[in-house]
Amino acid sequence: MIGQALNRVDGPLKVTGGATYAYEFRDGDQPLYGFVVGATIGRGRITGIDTTRVESSPGVHLVLTHQNAPAQGARDLSVPFEYWRAYPTLSSPDVHHHGEPVALVVAATFEQARTAANLVDVEYAAEQGSYDFAACQDQAYAPESLIFGIPADTAVGDVDAGLRTAEVQVDEWYTTPYEFSQPMEPPACLVVPDGDDLVVYTSCQIVDAARASIAATLELDPERVHVVTQYVGGGFGSKLRIHGETILAAMAARALQRPVKVALTRQQMFSSVSVRPTSSQRVRLGAERDGRLVAIAHEVTMHTNRHVEFIEPTATATRSLYAAPNRLTSTRLVPLDVLRGEDVRAPGEAPGLLVVESAVDELAHALGMDPVELRIRNEPTVDPERGVPYSDRHLVECLRDGADRFGWERRLPEPARRRDGRWLVGYGVAAAIRVHLQGPTKAAVRLGPDGIAVVESDMTDIGTGTYTILTQVAAEGLGLPPDRVRVELGRSEFPPSVGSGGSWGAGNSSTAVHHACTALREKLLAAASSDVRSPLHGLDTAGAVFSGGSVSIDGASEALGEIVTRNCPEGLEAEGETVLLTEEPNYGAYAIHTYGAHFAEVGVDADTAEIRLRRMLGVFSVGRVLNAKTARSQLIGGMIWGVSQALAEEGVVDMRSGGFVNRDLAQYLVPVHADIPEIDAVMLDGFDDKANVLGVKGLGELGICGAGAAVANAVFNATGVRVRDFPITIEKVLPGLPLTEV
C-alpha cells in the first residue's frame, strides 16, 4: 500500500467544490466582513486617524485601529519557534513597513468593507526609511545564530590559503531578488465567538502554532481557542504562522460578538506575508586541475526587517554538499524598513543553491571539465563540516542516472554552439540537497466496531496529499483496504503536530500513524488472544498477519471489527508519536538529507534573448516514497518554481516608498502553462533507516533546490552569457548576444 500511486482521497471533494476552505465556512450568525487598511508609508508614525467618514459609510460596524485595539501579548523570544509566538497587530502607532495594517474596517458585506476602507483618513509623520538593499551593505551585521541554534558562520581549515594555492579559482558575486509565496488561496479566516471561546477557521500550515499564537496575542488560555483547518489552498511557507488577518478577525469578533471573516486580496499579500529575503552572495571556489576542490567559501548577506529579525539559512546547504579541506560559510543581515522576510519554500537551499550551483558550473567551465564529472569528483565520504556519516545519499547515482536519461552526452561543452533555427540551445545541470528534519507529532488511530479506522491529528494537508498518504500508512499498518480508513486532520482538538512545513510533515505524521497502528495491533491481539469467544484465543500472536480487515494466526482468523465489537464497542484507540530531532540520536550521529540532480534544456532567441525552457528532468534520492503520484507532483511543482526563480520572479521595491511595486500576478511573473513543457521527476528506490522506521524523508521542498541553477547553467551553455543577478531576464542577456546576420 505504502508507495502506491493512490489517487488523492480528497480529490473528488476538491474538484466538486465539496472541500470547505476556511473562508467558506458558515458557523452561527451571518458573518461580518473585515477589510485591512495598509500603511502607505514605509517608516514613521501614525499621528492621527480620522474615522468619521468610514463610520458613516453604509454597513460599517467597527473600525479597529491602534487607538481602540485591545492590549496584546508581546512576541516572546523564549518560545523556540516563531510561529508559536504572539503576533501583535495594530499594537502601536509605529509603521515598520509599507502595507503594515493600520486599521480593520468591519462591515456587513465585503464590498461595503472594502469601499469604507478607502475612507479611513490616516495621517503619518513619515521618516526616511532604508529600502535600498544594495546601498545599505555597509550596515550588515552578524546574527547570533540561525534557527535550531545552527551557527550563522562556520570555518574549517584556511580558505584564503586554500584559494591561494588552488590552480583554478572562481570568485563571483551573485544577487537574488525578493520572491513571494503566492498560494492560490490567500490568507483567510472566519472567527466565531462562542461564549469565552473562539472558533477560528483559518488557512494555516500548523494548527498548534496558530492556536498558540492567537492565544498568546489575545492573552487567552489556548484551551479557549479552537482552530479548524480542513483544507488549505497552498502554503509554501506563507501560512506557517497566522498573520494580521486572523488576529484582526479575532479581535473584531470578540469586540462585536459576531462571526467575522477576513481575507487578504492578492495585492495585500504582496505587502503583508511571506517574502523571501533578497540576497547578495559571494562564492569563492578553488580547485586543482583535476577538479578536486581545495576551498569553498559561501558568504551570504540578506535583508531583514529592522523591527523583527528574520534569517534565511542560505549558506547551510553548502556545508554538506561537496568535499573540500578548507571551507567557510557566513551569514550577514542588512536591516531595512521593508516587509519582513519569512520562510518561503526551501528556505536557505532555494536561494543558496541557485547561486552555489551556478558557481560550480563556472568552475567546470574554467576547468574545461564536464559539470557532472566535476560534481562526482567532489563527492564527500562524510559530512565535511560535521564529520558525521551521511545516512543515505546517492547524489552520484542521481547525477549519473539523470545524465543517462537526459542524453547529457549530447551537450556541447563550448557555449553558444548549438542552434535550432532561431534558438540558441543549451543544457545545464545542478545538484539538489535539502536537510531532512523531524519534529514532535502525535496521531491517534481508532478502530470502530464497523471495522473502519479513523486517524486523527491536527496535522494539515496543504494540498500536498497528507490525507492520502496517511490513509495508505494506516491501511498498511492495520491491513485494511484504503476505503476502510478515514483521516481527520486540522483540528486543534486532535493530537498535536508540528504541521506542514520544512518538508517534515509527511515524515512526522506517517511515522506517528505507523507507531499508532503498531500499538493498536498489539491491543487488538491482546484483546483477541485473551478472549475465549475469539477464534484466536490462546494462540501465539507473534505470527499474526493483518490483512483484508482481519487478523489471522495459523489459519484461524477474525475480523477486526468483531474484536472491537466484543471487547470495546466504543472503539479501540492507540496513539503514536515522533519527537524533536534533538532527542533522536540518529539526527546527531548522521547527516540526514535528500538529494537530487536537475537537468535542463533551454532555448534562447538569438535576436530577442527570450528564454524558454524546452525540457527538464530531475532524479531524486528521497528515501522511501509514500505515494508515487503525490511525491512526483511535489517534486515537479518545486522544479517549476526553480524555473520561475531563474527566469521570472522578482519583487520590486520602490526606493522612495519602500513598498512593492509589482503587486499582482499580472506584474509579478510566474510561469504559465506555455512556459513549462515536458518535465519529469524520477525517484530512486530508497529507504533511509536512520530517518525513521518507515525510511521516509520529506520531499516537498527538494524539487526547487538547485532547479533554478540548472536552468541558469543551461542559459550560459546556450549563449555564453553568465547572468549573476537573478532572475535572468531579456535585458541581462541581450547585450551579450551578437547581432545576427540574415
Binding site: 472594502r114 524558454r612 520590486v652 526606493m655 503587486r663 499582482d664 506584474q667 504559465v672 541581450l734 546576420e741
Partner: protein, 327 residues
C-alpha cells in the same frame, strides 16, 4: 469598489445618451474596467452595459473593406476566416494577447480603450498624472522597465498595452464612432489614441458618451503580414516590444512596407521613417538595420527600459527578414 447603478442598453443611440451623463461609462466585456473599479481607479457611478447590443457582426463592405462590429469578441475576430486570410497580422496579434478566457470576453471596442499597465497607475497610494492629474508621475525615477521610449512626456511615460491596435495600425484601420447626438464619424487609428503630453488622462479622441461602433479595415495592402510579440514569458503577458509589419518585395527589392511597434509608446507607434527607409531598397539586413536605426532615432530610455530600444530594433529586423522571405 464604489457603489454604482447599472443598466443594460437595449439600443445603440440610447446607450450613447445614457453614457453621456456625468459619471456614466460603457462596459463591454468588463475585463479591464472591472479590475480598475475594484481598485477604485475608475469610479463610475453608472454603468451602461453595451455587450448585448447588436454590434458583434463582421461584414464585408462593397469596396472590399471589412467592418468589424465593436462588440465582436477578440477570439471571434481572430478566428474569422476573412480576418485570418486577408488580415493575418490582426489575427496573430489578437491570439498573442491575454488568454483564451479573456479573449472570449473582451470586445474590440474595449480593447481599443483598455488602459495602461503602469504599476503606479494601479497603486492609489502613488502619484500618477494619468489617474489623478497633477499628482506627478511615479514611474519617472521609479520602476519603469515596461515604460515608453518614444513619444513620452514629462507628465507620463506609460505605454498602450494593446496588441490588436498595433496590427490595426499597419492595416490603416478606421474607427467608427457614434456620438450622443447621433452623429457618426470615422477616425484613423493613427489619430484615435493620443500621446500623453501634459494631459495623460486623456487617452483617446472619444467624447463623453461617444461609442465605438465598429472598426473598418480597408482592403489589405500587398505583401506578407506578420506580428511578432516579445515578452517575458511565453503567454498571458503584455508585450515588452512588438512589431507589426507588412512587406512586399519584388525581385529582391522592397516594393512596399508598413511597420508599427507596440509596447514602446502611449499609442501604437507607426513608423513612417522606417517605412521610407525600406521602400525601394534591397531586402537585406543592411536595409533593415538602417530602418531600425531610423525608427528608434528619437527613442529615449528611462534607465530600466533602455534595453527596449535595442530590443525594438532587433525585433524589427528579424520580423522584416521573415516577412520578406515569404513575400
Amino acid at each position: 469598489m464604489r457603489p454604482f447603478t447599472y443598466e443594460r442598453a437595449t439600443d445603440v443611440p440610447g446607450a450613447c445618451a445614457a453614457a453621456s451623463r456625468p459619471g456614466a461609462t460603457f462596459i463591454s466585456g468588463g475585463t479591464n474596467l472591472l479590475d480598475l473599479m475594484k481598485l477604485e481607479i475608475e469610479r463610475p457611478s453608472h454603468l451602461v452595459d453595451i455587450s448585448r447590443l447588436p454590434l458583434a457582426d463582421v461584414d464585408e463592405l462593397q469596396d472590399g473593406a471589412l467592418r468589424i462590429g465593436a462588440q465582436a469578441a477578440n477570439s471571434d475576430v481572430a478566428a474569422d476566416p476573412r480576418v485570418r486570410t486577408r488580415y493575418p497580422v490582426l489575427s496573430q496579434a489578437l491570439v498573442a494577447g491575454a488568454s483564451g478566457q479573456l479573449r472570449n470576453k473582451a470586445s474590440v471596442g474595449g480593447n481599443l480603450v483598455q488602459r495602461t499597465r503602469c504599476p503606479y497607475f494601479y497603486d492609489t497610494a502613488a502619484g500618477c498624472n494619468k489617474r489623478d492629474p497633477g499628482s506627478g508621475c511615479s514611474a519617472i525615477g521609479g520602476f519603469n522597465r515596461i515604460h515608453a521610449v518614444l513619444g513620452a512626456s514629462d507628465s507620463c511615460i506609460a505605454t498602450n498595452p494593446s496588441d490588436m491596435a498595433v496590427a490595426m495600425s499597419v492595416l490603416d484601420a478606421q474607427i467608427e464612432l457614434l456620438d450622443a447626438d447621433r452623429s457618426v464619424r470615422r477616425v484613423d487609428i493613427a489619430d484615435f489614441h493620443r500621446l500623453p503630453g501634459d494631459t495623460p488622462h486623456v487617452e483617446t479622441v472619444l467624447r463623453p458618451g461617444e461609442m465605438i461602433t465598429a472598426v473598418i479595415l480597408p482592403p489589405p495592402p500587398p505583401g506578407r503580414q506578420l506580428y511578432r510579440k516579445v515578452r517575458d514569458r511565453a503567454s498571458y503577458e503584455f508585450a515588452l516590444v512588438s512589431v507589426a509589419a507588412i512587406v512586399a518585395t519584388d525581385r529582391g527589392t522592397i516594393s512596399s512596407a508598413r511597420v508599427a511597434f507596440g509596447g514602446v509608446a502611449h499609442k501604437p507607434w507607426r513608423s513612417a521613417d522606417a517605412e521610407a527607409a525600406l521602400t525601394g531598397r534591397p531586402a537585406t539586413m543592411a536595409t533593415y538595420r538602417a530602418a531600425a536605426e531610423t525608427a528608434m532615432r528619437d527613442a529615449v530610455g528611462q534607465g530600466q527600459n533602455d534595453f527596449k530600444i535595442d530590443l525594438a530594433r532587433r525585433t524589427l529586423c528579424r520580423t522584416l527578414v521573415q516577412a520578406a522571405q515569404a513575400s
